[in-house]
Amino acid sequence: MGALDPYSGRWDERKAAHLMRRATFVTTRAKAKELAAKTPAQAVDMLLTEKPAPPAPLDPDTNQTWVNSTTPNTQDFLYRPRVKSWWFEMMLKPDDLNITEKLTLCWHNHFATESDVVNDSRFQYFHNQTLRRNCMGNFKEFVRQITIDNGMLRYLNGDQNTNTRPNENYARELQELFTIGKGKEIAPYDYTTYTEDDIRAAAKVLTGWRTPRVGDPSKSTFNAAQHDTRDKQFSKNYGNTVIKGRSGATAGADELNDLLTMIFAQQATAKYIVRKLYRWFVHYEITQQTEDTVIAPLAAQFAQGNYEIKPVLRTLLLSEHFYDEQNIGAMIMSPLDFVAGFINKFGFQLPAVLADRYTTLQYFATLAAAMQQNIMDPPSVAGWTAYHQEPDYYRQWMNSATLPLRYNLTDASVIGGGRYPRAFIINTLDYCEKVCANPSSAKQLVNDVADDLCTAYPLTQDERDYLLTNTLLVGGATEALWTAAWGAYKANPTNATAKKTVEDRTKLLFVNLFRLAEFHLM
């Protein structure tokens, strides 16, 4: 049985929930059950359905969008957090069984840009639309669009790259990070896959593109007068390809096509991108065996399939390897997985008034940023280090500065505090009744809440026993006493004392569960 063969084992809630955690920000058991009721293929195909583009963000002062304005905002820094909120809100759809949001974030991590540098909220917005529009489409076409995307042109100085003053920034990252990947330096300036001279040649191919000073912010322009019309010679790594120099209005687009054709003819490109997807969706560790049985065949499919993204994702998400128990729960949640997943889990409602909604969204996006994942502002062009930096990878999300921030969030969700929005406080008693058929049994309640909250890595019996003794039965209470207390509460739910007796203990249970290491795995 091959690692990429379609998964043929038992398809149950555990496997479906694994798929859901990795492919979406949805975190409810109800939705996992919905996926479990389908066949694996049906479930994956549902996730891989293209969604229409979302409407543009609105200015809460005018209720109009500003993103189509033909001139930049004078107070643009006020609008950048709104684009972030606009995107973040799309992750907060508790029922959205679709891969688009996870995948858009994956490509943001891949084609990273920083709003601080892009320096124009309109470009920031259209860049995100480029990411989501192409997220499961054709990767080569994706790279073509990204190359001439205003946000990217601005971020990597593509808009300053001219025939008289070439700027190699984008040409370098295009090869090193976005497509073929940098290999070992086998000779001075020769990185196996490309050479320094290839960077210079590619930069010349890419001369002449401009971001509009005034005009349609969704489109870049091409200034033929700034384009290098000479032939461009590439190294033996690219088979000594020569890209014919052109002039005129279509020179830039034509040469870009030639450049991408050359890069995508290399085997290394498919492998590099497949590894990136693997680290995003499966696990950071790529052993030789994984390389041989997963990466190589998937890369072959990618290249033979003309770099269509969706079929490759379909193969991966349906594979035996993906559902291997070794890969379930083996990923530490990123801050966005954690914060968005948390909000989605409890189905908190965002404020209806736009200005208030932005305030709430910004509050939570800022929390994720403090935990080191600031959307639209990753640390560098290489994206978040958790997805590429050896040997720690996802572990970099967790440290003594960020862990207390997670605790602060989960504690506040149970007991309130600070600026934490009141509408986002969990009603623990209601939640207990939702997930447990018989909450008057302390043991069953602990089990059901634990299994609802820690789905990726089930708690051991030791932990369940500890929780029982130290939360619901804290202070030496017996199970019979809990049953009586619950009964008293149900008999008279408005009696404050009866309610508080059970509520305090359920709160303690939730606070405790949120702090378990298991709650941070996915």
Binding site: Q75, F77, L78, E114, S115, D116, V117, N119, H283, E285, E325, Q326, N327, I328, G329, A330, M331, I332, T366, A370, Q372, N374, D377, P379, T385, D392, Y394, R395, M398, N399, S400, A401, T402, L403, P404, L405, Y407, N408, D411, G418, R419, A456, Y457, T460, D462, E463, Y466, N470, L508, V511, N512, R515, L516, A517, E518, H520, L521
Partner: protein
Amino acid sequence: MKRRSFLKTAAPVLATPLLMNGLKLNALSRSPVFDELASALAVTDRYLVLIQLNGGNDGINTVIPLDQLSVYNQVRSRIAIPESKALKISDASALHPAMTGIQTMFKDGMATLIQGVTYPNPNQSHFRSTDIWMTGSDSNQYIGSGWAGRYLTTEYPNYPKGYPNAQYPDPPAIQIGAVMPLALMGPSQNMGLAIQDPNTFYTTMNAIAQGNYPAPPATKPGNELAFIRQVQGESKQYSKTIKDAYDKATNKVTYPTAQQNSLAVQMATVARLIAGGLKTRIYVVQIGGFDTHALQVDDADTTTGAHATLLGRVSESVALFYQDLKQLGVQDKVLSMTFSEFGRRVEANGSAGTDHGTAAPMFVFGTQVNPGIIGVNPSLTDLDNQNLKMQHDYRSVYFSVLKQWFGADSAALRTAVFRDFPELPIIKTSSTSVSENDAFATAAALSNYPNPVANGGTTIRYTLPDAAEVNIRIMDANGRMITTLAGGYQQAGTQQLHFDANGLANGMYIIEVRAGLRRAATTMVVER
């Protein structure tokens, strides 16, 4: 100045050894050579408290320009502070009447103020200008990390990986409050912990007793689980070292309650942590409410009102803090500095308030400051678009404080504020000394020859005033230890030993000799 060129020019000077910690430094003027040398030795037992005044403090009513009273009274007729009530700190300047505590600190030589601080092309948005002050950026530059955080990365390389450890048991920075300020953000990592108070943080990490469970199996998910548990353990360690320090010291003065003065309560916490021995380098405390667009004074008495209340709280907090630190015996180790995102408009508005402005004074407190006033009262008539003109770039203040207080070298300074800024005499030059007793008695106490060292080695010579247990260490320019040389108990008099420098790369090194409580250091250059 590039380090290489400094070494070349400095080498002959070094033939006369400098005492890093002795009174001898008093005799030296501040010179580049001295500064580079002083900064080569990390000064680690020093702490910086940043006091953020949120909202944009009205600098003109904080430091009243007595030399321009007619203009002042005219453009601020409804909110002007009467000259008779203002607290003079010089012939030309007086503090707001609510700032009695800070006035006393000026009298005691424990306060300095820097006039007219802002940056070119000031931004008048709270959000944006706060970011600029926090990040140390230019007005048109967007940066995701903070000046203090970047500086701390030079002292705590690779933080948080491998921390806490025996050498650095404590967090680099602490924000007293809920949300980490951008100032403490390193290029890729928060350099601090945000804690409401040590007990709450300790509670956050420990209040919920968590069980000890058997190690998870060595599977892929099990390994990640084990890692998270390890981080939980380390965080608990920080929470414990912080709480231990907090519990070790008690405040020696009575601070007001949080309802009366929230800033004072934050500073009381900082005092306890420092006195309790926490080695955390930078603290941030905050007080809000300075956005005084309306009714910043009471009409009946302009010395009272919202702004007076705020300045009174700041003054009370700082004064109590230093009284406390003095009684706790750590006042010489703590420097405090105020900042606010901007000052306010020269002319008052129609609501007995002031609108967003630009330049404003910054205060620096501590026993080691050069007391007085840096700069002059800003002109109320020579304006830039109705606003005060800049006298000092805010990064000059950061630059000077990091260099003079923490002994930051030029690489660390550039990491923090990106380029060189004019240095302001904020800290007394003599303050690099610990105390006379800590140093060797004579300037000839320590030397090495040859210096620079080419091939072979150098002879280290030192003179002990009395018998002592001797420790000799060779450190690199960043203060990291390279090796320890044989010492032991030695008699008074001149001692010498040979050091083989063949294993060392080219560069500057520090030779440090400790003899009992005394300490001396000199630099050695390896150049082949």
